[in-house]
């Protein structure tokens, strides 16, 4: 095995039930490195333009990187990518767990899935061998049950299972791909793509190990991380989960409430991460949360994953389905004015059992709540009382969406399609970009997110760039790391000028590279993360033996972004789709530190111009230009676009 990667890309043709293995050379791996960039290579090469996202022409890629499976925190992650049935644009989503490392140990760097099976099947991948197996008996079963059944019939409890739940089978447009029954490639509806291909699951087991170029350097990096974790900026995230940020977001007025009409939620403390730790995290009743309530990914010392268990009351929650993160406590909580943490944990459990993105599911429900409370939807439409704060209806709707029952069948199309189908001016309440619902960090407060949310190729995303506070109030703390990627100046609060866009572009490139290296964005990053940009470079060097620099890593990120945008250009998208929800410009936020905040159209459009210019893209269309693509070694993509 080469250092870090296997050299094997598995191609699966579901229509003809055949497989082939491609063995790209080292230059290919050095250029794309893995994850999202590697996936984009195959999507651009192998998928015809204009493919039906839920048809056999769509290509689903599951990709690891040249780092996956090495003995270091934050590396066991994978990318799922395909054309999104939610947005019609590129779909791209990241997940952690043990499945990514196990696939590497089984001998593959990526799986490229084409066609569609006539009947449900699952793949069994073991130490380089691949078998198609019937899955009709698994169809319709929730993730935990299907995972148990696969492990039982293959006779190995150490198998890792990636799968779709019933929501993916039902082609809910924001269905997720799940692994471990609690880790999700959540965003952009890629579970529906897998379901449309009649591919229920991919079970993997491998016994090989990842050979690294410099064992001592990898060991030193791992030791440094373990020693510095307790004093680091992520120690709170690791112990209290990402929902520990609820109170800070509330305080700065960036806790999206009542479907993004306010940045504060009076009852935030009921759903905060510290409260979760004290009440429903497994082991809380006798103070054993740190041992029982925190799960991990392969070889990661951070252990940030929530494990919630509720044995009493109306919302019992099984610990195997994990627990809610900040995005989930927000979308199922403050988005709809809901203060019931047990109900939120139940909705999270349902999403993991049925396989759905908690962000789009919760935000689609909160869209319906706003329409209902505005008198535009009635109980006759919904069958449920959607008064703000009604936790019971939220939980019921979550299950109805997964099963496509009643009003849930309309919401299963996502809020943008639901608004179009129902009419009545319900589009006024949408909080979508390219048809995908906004995550829980507010661009009215952190203004660089306005540009990133609007332009991000797979819809609004909060993990595609560093957020504004790092270059505003927190700059002094992070200036050394930010300088490594060329960000050298503290900027005023809520600015959106060329210097702020420069910060957004440079940090976006690093985050984009992380999604191609499949590194966790809590463990690696440009500011508050455990490891900084210099250690990201050291990690790639230690594992692969390549003499990479930060410039090469930044260029990898830029290459991946250009491939994503080029895919969208090929599908006919351009600047016209880089729009934010109208309400962010028209309605001022109410209450708290962000009272009165709204975005300005002229400032936003000027910022878009600057963003395209700094990206080397055509300002009029927002699409990559041939010189930029050629500079990044993507002349073949420019040829595809007939530039």
């Amino acid at each position: 095995m080469p250092h870090g990667y296997t050299g094997n890309i598995l191609h699966v043709d579901l229509t003809h039930q055949t497989t082939t293995v491609e063995t790209p050379d080292e230059a290919f791996y050095r250029k794309y490195m893995g994850g999202s960039a590697l996936a984009m290579f195959y999507l651009l090469r192998d998928m015809p333009a204009g493919a039906d996202p839920l048809g056999p022409d769509n290509v689903l890629v599951l990709a690891l990187s040249v780092l996956t499976g090495a003995p270091l925190s934050g590396q066991s992650r994978m990318t799922a990518a395909a054309k999104s049935p939610l947005t019609g644009a590129i779909g791209d989503s990241q997940s952690g767990g043990f499945w990514p490392a196990e696939l590497k140990f089984a001998g593959f760097d990526a799986i490229v899935v084409k066609g569609a099976a006539k009947e449900p099947v699952y793949l069994w991948v073991k130490d380089g061998a691949v078998e198609f197996r019937p899955a009709a008996h698994l169809w319709g079963r929730i993730t935990g049950d299907a995972e148990d059944a696969i492990k039982a019939e293959l006779g190995d409890d150490k198998i890792e299972v990636l799968q779709v739940g019933p929501a993916g089978e039902n082609q809910v447009r924001f269905a997720a791909i799940m692994n471990m029954s609690n880790r999700a490639n959540g965003r952009t509806g890629l579970g529906a793509v897998m379901g449309s291909k009649n591919l229920k699951a991919i079970a993997v087991r491998g016994t090989s190990k990842v050979e690294v170029a410099d064992k001592q350097a990898v060991s030193d990096l791992a030791r440094w991380g373990a020693q510095n974790l307790p004093q680091s900026n992520i120690t709170g995230l690791s112990k209290y989960g990402t929902a520990e940020t609820t109170g800070a977001n509330q305080t700065i007025g960036s806790l999206p409430t009542y479907n993004y009409n306010s940045g504060v939620f009076a009852e935030w403390e009921a759903i905060d991460g510290t409260t979760m730790y004290d009440t429903i995290l497994k082991g809380a009743e006798d103070g054993k949360q740190d041992r029982l309530g925190r799960d991990t990914c392969y070889a990661c010392t951070v252990r940030c994953k929530r494990v919630v268990e509720i044995q009493e009351g109306p919302y019992k929650v099984d610990a195997r389905y994990g627990g809610p993160e900040y995005e989930t406590t927000s979308t199922f909580g403050n988005y709809a004015g809901i203060n019931d943490l047990a109900a939120i944990a139940k909705a999270n459990e349902l999403c993991n059992q049925y396989g759905m993105d908690t962000i789009s599911c919760g935000a689609t429900i909160s869209w319906a709540y706003e329409a209902y409370n505005a008198g535009k939807l009635s109980k006759g439409d919904t069958g449920l009382d959607l008064t703000w704060g009604n936790a019971e209806s939220m939980v019921k709707l979550t299950e109805m969406i997964a099963k496509r029952e009643g009003f849930g069948d309309i919401l299963a199309e996502g809020s943008a399609r639901a608004a179009e189908e129902l009419g009545r001016g319900l589009g006024d309440y949408l909080i979508t970009v390219k048809g995908q619902e906004l995550p829980a960090h507010m661009p009215q407060v952190k203004k660089s997110l306005a540009v990133i949310y609007a332009t991000n190729p797979f819809g609004a995303d909060h993990q595609s760039s560093e957020h504004d506070p790092a270059v505003e109030a927190d700059f002094e703390t992070f200036k050394d790391r930010l300088a490594m990627i060329g960000v050298n100046k503290q900027l005023p609060k809520r600015s959106l000028d060329a210097e702020k866009i420069d910060f957004a572009v440079k940090t976006q490139r690093l985050y984009s590279a992380l999604d191609s290296l499949n590194l966790c964005q809590f463990v690696f990053g440009p500011a508050w993360q455990l490891y900084g940009p210099d250690q990201t470079v050291e990690t790639v060097r230690a594992i692969t033996g390549w003499d990479v620099t930060i410039d090469e890593i930044q260029e990898l990120g830029e290459r991946r972004l250009n491939m994503l945008r080029a895919f969208n250009a090929r599908e006919g998208l351009d600047r016209k789709e880089d729009k934010l929800p109208a309400k962010l410009f028209k309605k001022a936020l109410k209450g708290g530190a962000s009272d009165g905040f709204k975005l300005d159209e002229d400032e936003f459009e000027a910022a878009l111009d600057t963003y395209y210019e700094q990206s080397g893209w055509d300002v009029e269309t927002g699409n990559p230009s041939r010189p930029t693509l050629e500079r990044l070694g993507l002349g073949w993509v420019a040829d595809q676009l007939k530039m």
């Binding site: 520990e244 109170g247 800070a248 305080t251 995550p439 506070p469 927190d474 530190a593």
Partner: protein, 77 residues
Amino acid sequence: MVITLKLYSTLREKLPPEARGQATLDLHDGATLDDLLAHLDLPKRVVISVNDEHEPDLTRRLNSGDLVRIFSAVGGG
């Protein structure tokens, strides 16, 4: 001058576990947020609210009866 203090996430580990992050503190008259952070041995990179309003100015003088909440300042998603 007596204030009510609430600390969240890892910050509350500055207080005894049984306090669960909440305490009543007797501070000298005219004490500022800066003084409070120093008293608690907390970093300056935190997010603070006084009486549930955001207060980024660490020179803010506290008054008797104030409720001060202090949060870790982190990214995350």
